[in-house]
Every structure is written in structure tokens, then in C-alpha cells.
Amino acid sequence: MSERSPVPEMILCPDGPILLRGQHVVVDDDGVEHRTTRPVSAICRCGHSATKPWCDGTHKVAVPRARTSTRTAD
């Protein structure tokens, strides 16, 4: 992250989650809406998190597979 303005709301972390800054509603694979609760949220991209749609660090021990299609809506 640099001092560019505006501050990025979404950051794709290589081999890691999507960081989502601010308050959003995340829709998971089953169409269920999840409201973010912290200043920055990490969204699972590896598909292995036990707390989807949020990242729980499992990507570090999981075998990589196709990214899941989580989309976000304000």
C-alpha cells in the first residue's frame, strides 16, 4: 500500500485473500449475504476456509485450487 489517494478498497493478496476495506455486504457461493464487521476484512480465495466467506489462513496449508467466485455488493 502506498500513499495514493483514494485508498484502495480492495486488495488482492498474492497467494492469499482479498482484503476488503470498509463496510460491505459479501455474497457467498450459496447467495447468502454476510456483512463485514471489521475495518478491513479478508475474504477467502482458496476455497478452503472454515469460516467462509472470511479467510482463516488455511490457504497456507491447503493445496491451491480454482478461485471461488465470491462477489461483493455495497
Binding site: 486488495i11 493478496c13 498474492p14 492469499g16 471489521r38 479467510c55 489462513g57 488455511t58
Partner: protein
């Protein structure tokens, strides 16, 4: 809290002098060297504590007593030398990844050491977990406080990322969600003493050394790289172990408040490890490329001291690591 119990002749002389010492008094002569590391670490821990909340039985102005600062320095120098020697001896490769963040994650991934969380997940009994919570309380009741010292020493982009992380650690404006408060409630739910520093007299030297390293890095502006490197490694070794802790606590039927503390860290630290590596540390190196070495030194120190702590605890429990 009260001044802790001495662990040797240097800490005994220091702790005997503190209650009656005024900010302008010359302290009575102390031994110039500690008996051993336990004596040294408890003396340094207490001198550092003057910069946090202090002691009910010591004058708050002693925080800036020149003779105590001189003594503190004499204890900090060998600690930093020892930590740096361990880092040098491991010969970790800080250039393992294409980016600084990848290198920090590679350092963490490559580190091998015993895991208390894995033991708690599968094997620990209730007494062992309570024992561990008492030992963890020394840090968790001041969680993130040592990292706060680094804020004014960092370039703006690092400050922005660190304070964003800290806002979450300090409960996003809600006192009952400050992580140290979550841990205090976890202790209370288990029938343990939730007062700050309550268990310092019974924790092993390794706990004091872990805490002292964080304060050393935090209080010295020249060690800002080590401070944020330590934070990055701490966060990057938290989510998965916190999940294992929560599973072990559930296995033992412990109060939900304890699991809640760890489950909060599963999600929070999956965010924080990214902010710490990609935000705080990467921005510092961009501003000051010479800080990379200390970032890896701080990260290694975090991993190494936790391994030493885990090995000591498992040995004390009679468990081979």
C-alpha cells in the same frame, strides 16, 4: 500491580529500592551484573513496566529516573546481543521471496519449532491449558501495547497500515472488544485472576524474555524494523494456531469466553498478517530499504522466542517436543 518478586541478587536489590525511591533520589548501589538470565529478565521486565502501567508501590516518575534508565540499558545490551546472535546463527535467508511480504511469509513457513496450539488441540488437559493461559496473560493483557510505541517512528504509509491494524486490536472504539479485554474475560470465565500482571511471579523466564524483546523493539526508534517484523511474524503465526487452540478448548469443555478470544484471532489475524506484511513492513522498506534486515531479525526473534517458550513449557509438562 505490585512490584514482582525478585529472581536473583540484582532484581532483589532493585525491587527493594523501588518503593522508597523518589524521582531525584540516587538509588542504593545494585550489583552490576545479574546472577543469571532469570534475574536479568525480571529486572528488565520491571524497568520496562514503568513505561506501561507502573506499580502501585513505586513512584510513577521513576519511569524517567536517569539511573534506572542506565540500569535498563545495561540489561538491554546483552539481550539485544543475544537475540542478534541467535538470528545470525540461524542464517535465515531474507531474500527467499519475490516481495518483502513473500519473504516474511517464507521465513515464517520455514521455521520449525514445537507448537503449543497443536498440543492443546489434541492432548492438553485442563490444568495445562489453565497453566498456559496464566503464562499468556503477561502479554495478552497488554496485547498490542508494545507495537504502539512504533507508530511515531514509522513513515506515513506504515503508520496508516499499523494504526488500521491497531484500531481492530483495540476494539474499533468499543472497550469491551479491546483484545486485552477479551482475554481478561476469558481468564475470569475460567476462574483465573484477570488483573494485569497477576501471574508474573510464576511465569518462566522465557515469557519475560518474549515480552522484553517486544518492548525493546518498541521503545527504541532505531529498532522500528524489528518491531514491525516481530508484529508481522506474530500475526502470521496466529490464525491457524488460534483455530487449534479453540478446538482444544472445545474438547475440554472450557467456557465459551476463552474460545471466543481465540476465534476472534482466527479471522482478525488473517487480516492483520496481510496488513502487517504488505502494508506496514513493505511500506517501511520502500521508504528505508536498510530496514529490511531488522524486519527479518524481528520476525525471526518472534518465532524463535515462541519456540523456546513452547519447548520449555512442553518439557515442564513432561511432553517431548
Amino acid at each position: 500491580m505490585l512490584i514482582p518478586k525478585a529472581r536473583g541478587s540484582l532484581s532483589a536489590a532493585l525491587f527493594a529500592a523501588l518503593p522508597s525511591l523518589g524521582p531525584d533520589d540516587a538509588p542504593p548501589p545494585c550489583p552490576t551484573t545479574a546472577d543469571d538470565n532469570a534475574d536479568e529478565q525480571i529486572a528488565l521486565w520491571a524497568l520496562y513496566e514503568l513505561h506501561y502501567r507502573g506499580f502501585e508501590d513505586a513512584d510513577a516518575e521513576l519511569e524517567w529516573h536517569p539511573d534506572l534508565l542506565r540500569l535498563r540499558r545495561s540489561l538491554e545490551i546483552p539481550l539485544e546481543q543475544r537475540l542478534r546472535a541467535r538470528y545470525a546463527a540461524e542464517a535465515v535467508a531474507p531474500d527467499a521471496g519475490p516481495t518483502l511480504a513473500a519473504s516474511v511469509f517464507a521465513l515464517v513457513e520455514g521455521h520449525r519449532g514445537p507448537s503449543l496450539a497443536s498440543y492443546v488441540q489434541r492432548n492438553a488437559d485442563l490444568e495445562q491449558v489453565l497453566d498456559l493461559l496464566r503464562m499468556r496473560s503477561i502479554y495478552h493483557l497488554k496485547e498490542t501495547d508494545p507495537s504502539s510505541w512504533a507508530v511515531p517512528r514509522l513513515p506515513r504509509a506504515s503508520q496508516a497500515a499499523l494504526v488500521e491494524l491497531m484500531y481492530d486490536e483495540y476494539g474499533c472504539g468499543r472497550a469491551r472488544e479491546v483484545h486485552s479485554d477479551l482475554f481478561a474475560r476469558a481468564l475470569a470465565a475460567c476462574g483465573l485472576d484477570d488483573r494485569y500482571g497477576a501471574y508474573v511471579d510464576e511465569v518462566p523466564t522465557e515469557v519475560l524474555e518474549q515480552n522484553n524483546a517486544m518492548t525493546l523493539f518498541g521503545l527504541h526508534g532505531r529498532l522500528r524494523g524489528a518491531a514491525v517484523g516481530h508484529l508481522a511474524a506474530f500475526e502470521a503465526t496466529s490464525s491457524l494456531p488460534s483455530r487449534r487452540m479453540a478446538q482444544g478448548l472445545a474438547r475440554l469443555g472450557m467456557p465459551t469466553e476463552v474460545a471466543a478470544y481465540y476465534l476472534e484471532h482466527v479471522e482478525a489475524d488473517a487480516v492483520h498478517e496481510q496488513l502487517a506484511t504488505r502494508g506496514i513492513c513493505a511500506a517501511l522498506v520502500e521508504d528505508d530499504p536498510t530496514s529490511a534486515g531488522d524486519i527479518f531479525f524481528g520476525a525471526f526473534t518472534c518465532l524463535d522466542l515462541e519456540s523456546r517458550f513452547a519447548a520449555a513449557v512442553l518439557a515442564d509438562w513432561g511432553v517431548g517436543s
